[in-house]
Symmetry: C2
Subunit: 316 residues, 2 copies
């Protein structure tokens, strides 16, 4: 009953890093890697590769920079078939910082890009491809960008790039199943030679449901995170996704242990999940920035005022 082409992609450390400025201990990251490996997860995205010229390594933890040496040290000694991925943002990485893949522990580089930056994203992935990496382009904030520029970007990716997959990224947690279906069909129609991926955010408790919707319509690259950790409302939970997929190569038990041992205590220290201001920003198709600021203020439970402030912006 399962589709062998499906790849499960864990973004725990990468997306989770957005709520703690990427300050995860090496021990923690290794523990996650070990559990994912035992669970049979296909890829682990271990962080961002950002330029140290742009971000201070005092202000941000090591997983915002993901130097090859750090990755090698962290995964060393663990028996694993799980491939390592890093994410880069358009305009925030020095291409010369990326060594040939044969000299790096990294298997895949995913480029996060808005539709408007797609030329740059294609240029970057072609560079990484020549260096021997697997690549994807992840189209961010797609709920705000469904017009003709999206079609043009997809045609250009299909023609000019060698990425293996292109992701629909619901950055704002704003998509409902019908939009997911519409987007997947569009992607699959244009991208004849690429796989399609889906990365959901859980503002409206739809990250998992939308991922299932994407699977139904033929998406094979699926992102999740352990216990849903990730910016603001977080992501599709890896444990539910593995519970749903029928491929016998997956084992949910190492992920259950990881949640018991590490994520229940972690959730006491940092916040993510179903929280009303994030639900509101999802409904409004807004970046969670304002909601995150609210949650760091004394007004954190003033939902009505927050809702009304967004309505006012909408009508401006």
């Amino acid at each position: 009953m399962y589709r062998p082409q499906i790849k499960v992609f864990d973004c725990t450390i990468r997306d989770g890093g957005l709520i703690n400025n990427h300050f995860f201990e090496e021990r923690f990251v290794k523990t996650v890697y070990k559990a994912l490996s035992e669970a049979g997860v296909d890829y682990m995205e271990i962080g961002y590769r950002n330029s140290k010229n742009l971000f201070s390594s005092k202000e941000f933890g090591a997983w915002k920079f993901c130097e090859d040496e750090l990755i090698s040290k962290t995964i060393d000694g663990v028996e694993s078939k799980t491939k390592i991925s890093i994410m880069v943002d358009v305009g925030r990485v020095e291409l010369d910082d990326i060594k040939p893949s044969c000299e790096s522990p990294v298997d895949m580089i995913r480029v996060a890009s808005y539709v408007k930056d797609i030329d740059k994203a294609i240029h970057m992935t072609n560079d990484f491809d020549k260096k021997g990496y697997e690549t994807t382009i992840n189209i961010m904030a797609i709920s705000r960008d469904q017009g003709p520029e999206l079609d043009e970007a997809l045609h250009q990716i299909e023609k000019e790039s060698r990425v293996q997959a292109v992701y629909i990224v619901d950055s704002f947690g704003a998509l409902y199943q019908e939009s997911v279906e519409w987007l997947v069909k569009k992607f699959k129609t244009i991208l004849k030679t690429k796989e399609v991926g889906f990365h959901g955010h859980n503002n409206q408790q739809l990250a998992f449901g939308n991922t299932i919707e994407a699977i139904i319509h033929g998406v094979n690259y699926l992102d999740g995170t352990v216990y849903g950790i990730g910016r603001a409302a977080g992501n599709c939970t890896l444990e539910l996704l593995i519970g749903f997929l029928k491929n016998p190569k997956f084992d949910i038990r190492p992920i259950l242990d990881l949640i018991s041992d590490e994520f229940i205590p972690l959730r006491e220290k940092i916040e993510w999940g179903y929280i009303i201001p994030y639900a509101i920003s999802g409904m409004m198709n807004e970046h969670p920035r304002a909601a995150m600021a609210l949650r760091n203020s004394e007004e954190k439970e003033n939902y009505r005022e927050f809702y009304e402030s967004l309505i006012d912006v909408e009508l401006d």
Copy 2:
């Protein structure tokens, strides 16, 4: 863009009562009723009508019995178009306890029934119908009961009862979108003269997504609860549902206030929501009973052991 036939049905006090033995203060219930009325919610299910011969009123709060006088007192003085519903379980109510509707503040009676008890449920709803109430039959635990007996029960309801809607109840939080679609299509094919309803549980974070799926395929009676309160993982959240529906009669703001003022503090005292043992029982299509017992024990975060105990049962 909205479907005027859609009715939103709040079960906050009724389903929420399953986690505090129905001990809500009258002030709290009145506050919920006021907010639902201001929000334009169509129905409020205010509790169960259980026989006092079967359950002790010391052990259970007033909302397990929902006497007419209590309801009248609680809703008195609130301007409202929200109708009042009570739920009865097959075999747990004395029909003589139900007065004619003209003498009662109750507008609707919903009968919760397993497929095997459908004859009794039809008999009960026909009695309530004669007394002037609106009625529905809510078919519980449907994820375990999708065989030919279900078809037979639906044919019988269509032929022998005058209920206005029949509900698909995903008691175990086990359904995925494809099963929801399959069930809705079956219900709509057989129930030519009735509406179809959907009541989800959120074990796998799918209560809202499955409700949207039900809407897409023509379901018009939609259950939700404020902040998702309800047994174990809880229900489809009313705030997300109202945020999704486009009918201008709904106003989300009174619900947001209610969550800020009442449900954030309440959630500190009683537990519901996305909790791994409930997710596991949902995946396994099991009643949450065992998971609820685990959460009341010292082993509450021992997920692997719990998972393995269910696998063993499955293979027995």
